[in-house]
Amino acid sequence: MSLSDSLISFRNSFISPRFVQNSAGQFFSSGHTNNWAVLVCTSRFWFNYRHVANTLSVYRSVKRLGIPDSHIVLMLADDMACNHRNPKPATVFSHKNMELNVYGDDVEVDYRGYEVTVENFLRVLTGRLPPSTPRSKRLLSDDRSNILIYLTGHGGNGFLKFQDSEEISNVELADAFEQMWQKRRYNELLFIIDTCQGASMYERFYSPNIMALASSQVGEDSLSHQPDLAIGVHLMDRYTFYLLEFLEDIHPSSKTNMNDLFKVCPRSLCVSTPGHRTDLFLRNPESVLITDFFGSVRKVEITTEPKFSIHQSYSDSDP
């Protein structure tokens, strides 16, 4: 029941005049045709370097696995790479060995600085943007889109802090997802949050087809990984560090499924207990591929012979 086998049988049905084996269902079992990602870093100030590094590392993985910039909405509340306290300008590292510069050379930030607010975030999710908003700042998903939503920052029991001045509650988030569901703006949604007490943010979800992962349970703090003495701040959070390590092994045609993602960062490494929620999700997590959300594997059909003849000189005399 692999993807290529299903491609083969579906392909057969196109070549022969009659559908040989109707395995189209298997082929399109995930039901999505395009992928979107909304990656949000909600904290500003230099000492929250690790939150920007978190978001950028997920951005990097998602781009590497195939989602184009036009389908990614990246919101960074502060600029760390060009921050004047950064001793290594134009870089954002994930580990103190400074091997991986997650800032890269092709980053497209859609909402930056003070534009990252609760209101803008909710507007992006629900689609209620003013008509003058350009395409790159919109989430133009449809009912066949799989969306990955990644949030990171400082949070508490039932809320996530934005920009040190406002907060979004789990009730608002759940309502926003419900509005997305009502308008059929997603096929399946993967929600990942890396904050303290992150599991409280997905407690209130009630819309179907949402799978959620969090870095810590209610009452637990998510801890950061390691500080770098040269840069002077903690570079990344533990959960996202191990998530990045896991994702670096994934390539566009890999068959790893969600159960492996749930095992990322066990308590021994993370200190906090990562949690997940799959009761709202229709498919079995074992059958959900990582690339269903993190990558963008396109479904492809071969074009058969055209049914009409196009003449070189357009001289048909049809009335």
């Binding site: 491609l7 392909r11 057969n12 070549i15 005049p17 009659r18 559908f19 109707n22 395995s23 189209a24 269902g25 082929f27 399109f28 039901g31 045709t33 395009n34 184009p68 036009s70 609760v118 209101e119 909710l122 507007r123 689609g127 209620r128 943007l129 003013p130 350009p134 395409r135 919109r138 449809d142 066949r144 509650s169 608002e172 309502d175 509005q179 009502q182 308008k183 059929r184 566009p252 045609s253 229709l282 594997v297 396109r298 479904k299 492809v300 059909e301 071969i302 074009t303 058969t304 055209p306 049914k307 009409f308 003849s309 196009i310 003449h311 070189q312 357009y314 048909d316 049809d318 009335p319």
Partner: protein, 562 residues
């Protein structure tokens, strides 16, 4: 004594009047200034919309040519029958299909047209005689002896709205008209499944409403492939040249679009607006490495690796930043000289004749080989003129599929005429219009009902007048569209359905409808208590004191009376 009495009286009066002002003036003022403005919405009508009962009806004419009916049977005509079918898709959606079939005999001119040597010519002359209105179909029944259709072909479906059905001799012998019509009924139904709306099509169009009902697998893939209904689409033609040092490519895209694509899009204009642009990309590689096949002497791109071709290319493609319409991308890739010629192979290791593939809801890619156009002694860069006819033929096929045309083969014994230069048969357009209208109506009703539900649930959202107006007009348009569908006026139904979807989307996505920030109850108390408690406490206490004094005096009076 009297002064304290007067003062006490004055104090009581003051407390009473303050309390009166607070209650009579203050509380309503506070209520009015803190309530959110909510314009009136037709909630009861919207509630009715949640139960969708769609009634699709089409007119069909069945014309009997000479030699198909006996004289007794002919005397009973013209005759009208109604074919009715009802399906309950789920508890909220009911579909009803009605075909109003009129049986008659052919006129002399129609007989003459049917006497033409080939079916295509007959189709053309029949069309010259009369043009069927949008949404209707005409079936001509010809006798078995007629040579109009080839041997194994039972039904010929023309380019417009006519079909030619061959009837067997034993079918009509010794039967009354009613029996004959009963025998013909399943055959006509089969023809109408192809030419007019079919249940699978319509349920696929309802996928917005009926989410977890996959139906048949073909309908699911069909619904996944075509773009959702949108008022406009953008089509982008891109020429990818990875090797500008070897090939200098010329393509007359403007002329080709005018000649081949524009007529198709003009015919589709009732459905949506299309805008076309084109671009050329140099040094744009495919992103997968094709393998060299020694037997073929060419590079092969296997079907498995096609899925990974699109993403690296898509990052380079430009698009119109100003519009939010869905984009259809058509890419023409000319392989570089080192990797020419390049062929696409399917899973059976056979060459794909069109050398092209497409991706659902995205677009199509065609590989155009130019190796055979020049020899090894040619001077680089070589000027190459691309044969736009061949290219546009493939792109038009892909465009048809992406717009939503049926790709499944017709039933056995059916011969479907090739679609002519426009690329679209009239009955195909009708089918698209049926499913598009149904899709628009379904989407609009879900949007309106969920908007009403949302506004009902969240008391904090401000409903402006313009939103109320949009919603009202959307509701009216939906009702009109449903009525027109029932009457069989396909053109008007589609127009109303487009209006309703525009209005409902505009209302739903209005920026002012953002959910006001959620205030938990304890926060509300925390705000009001410091404001109102200090003011209310003295008033309440003095009122209580007055009340206890009044009670005491009343008791004294009672005691005095006894």
């Amino acid at each position: 004594m009297a002064t304290t009495e007067v003062e006490r009286r004055r104090g009581q009066l003051a407390a009473l009047s303050i309390a009166a002002v607070v209650i009579v003036v203050g509380v309503p003022l506070w209520w009015r200034t803190t309530e959110t403005y909510r314009a009136w919405l037709p909630f009861s009508q919207i509630k009715d919309l949640s139960k969708l009962q769609l009634h699709l009806s089409a007119d069909v004419e069945v014309v009997f040519a000479r030699g198909t009916l006996t004289p007794e049977q002919q005397k009973k005509l013209p005759l009208t029958q109604t074919q009715d079918e009802e399906h309950a898709v789920d508890e909220n959606t009911v579909l009803r299909y009605t075909h109003e079939i009129k049986y008659r005999t052919a006129t002399i001119m129609e007989e003459e047209a049917l006497g033409k040597p080939t079916a295509a010519e007959a189709d053309l002359s029949l069309h010259m005689l009369s043009e069927s209105p949008c949404g209707s179909s005409v079936v001509y029944v010809i006798p078995e002896v007629s040579s109009l259709l080839p041997e194994n072909v039972k039904v010929y479906i023309g380019q417009r709205r006519t079909a030619i059905l061959r009837i067997n001799a034993e079918m009509r012998a010794g039967k009354t008209v009613e029996q004959l019509l009963a025998v013909l009924k399943p055959q006509i139904k089969q023809v109408l499944q192809v030419m007019s709306f079919s249940h699978t099509d319509i349920t696929a169009a309802l996928s917005d409403r009926v989410r977890f009902n996959p139906g048949s697998k073909e309908s699911m893939t069909h619904s996944m492939r075509a773009f959702t209904s949108s008022p406009g689409y953008e089509i982008t033609f891109s020429l990818l040249n990875p090797d500008p040092r070897s090939h200098r490519l010329h393509w007359d895209i403007e002329g080709a679009v005018q000649t081949y694509i524009q007529p198709f899009l003009t015919k589709l204009s009732p459905l949506a607006n299309f805008s076309i642009d084109s671009q050329m990309l140099h040094y744009a590689m495919l992103g997968v490495n094709p393998r060299y096949n020694n037997d073929r002497g060419a590079f092969i791109l296997h079907a498995d690796s096609l899925a990974h071709v699109i993403n690296p290319v898509e990052a380079r493609l430009g698009s119109n930043a100003a519009s939010s319409n869905p984009v259809l991308n058509f890419l023409l890739y000319v392989p570089d000289a080192q990797h020419s010629p390049l062929y696409i192979q399917d899973h059976k290791k056979m060459d794909v004749p069109s050398n092209a593939f497409h991706s659902p809801r995205w677009g199509g890619i065609m590989v155009y080989n130019v190796k055979n156009l020049y020899g090894p002694e040619a001077e680089f860069p070589v000027n190459i003129n691309i044969n736009m006819a061949e290219v546009m033929g493939v792109f038009l096929t892909q465009l048809r599929l992406l717009v939503g045309m049926e790709s499944s083969p017709p039933p056995p014994g059916f011969l479907v005429a090739p679609c002519g230069s426009v690329g679209l048969a009239d009955w195909e357009l009708d089918r698209l219009m049926w499913s598009r209208s149904v899709e628009n109506i379904a989407t609009a009703t879900t949007t309106i009902t969920s908007l009403a539900q949302l506004l009902d649930q969240i008391g904090n959202i401000v409903i402006n007048d313009n939103i109320a107006q949009q919603v009202s007009s959307a509701v009216t348009s939906v009702q009109l569209a449903v009525a027109e569908l029932e009457a069989g006026n396909l053109g008007f139904a589609l127009q109303y359905s487009k209006e309703t979807i525009l209005a409902s989307e505009k209302a739903f996505f209005d920026p002012s409808l953002l959910h006001l920030l959620y205030f938990p109850d304890d926060q509300k108390f925390a705000i009001y208590i410091p404001l109102f408690l200090p003011m209310c406490v003295p008033i309440l206490l003095s009122l209580l004191k007055m009340a206890s004094e009044a009670r005491r005096r009343y008791r004294e009076k009672q005691a005095k009376k006894d």
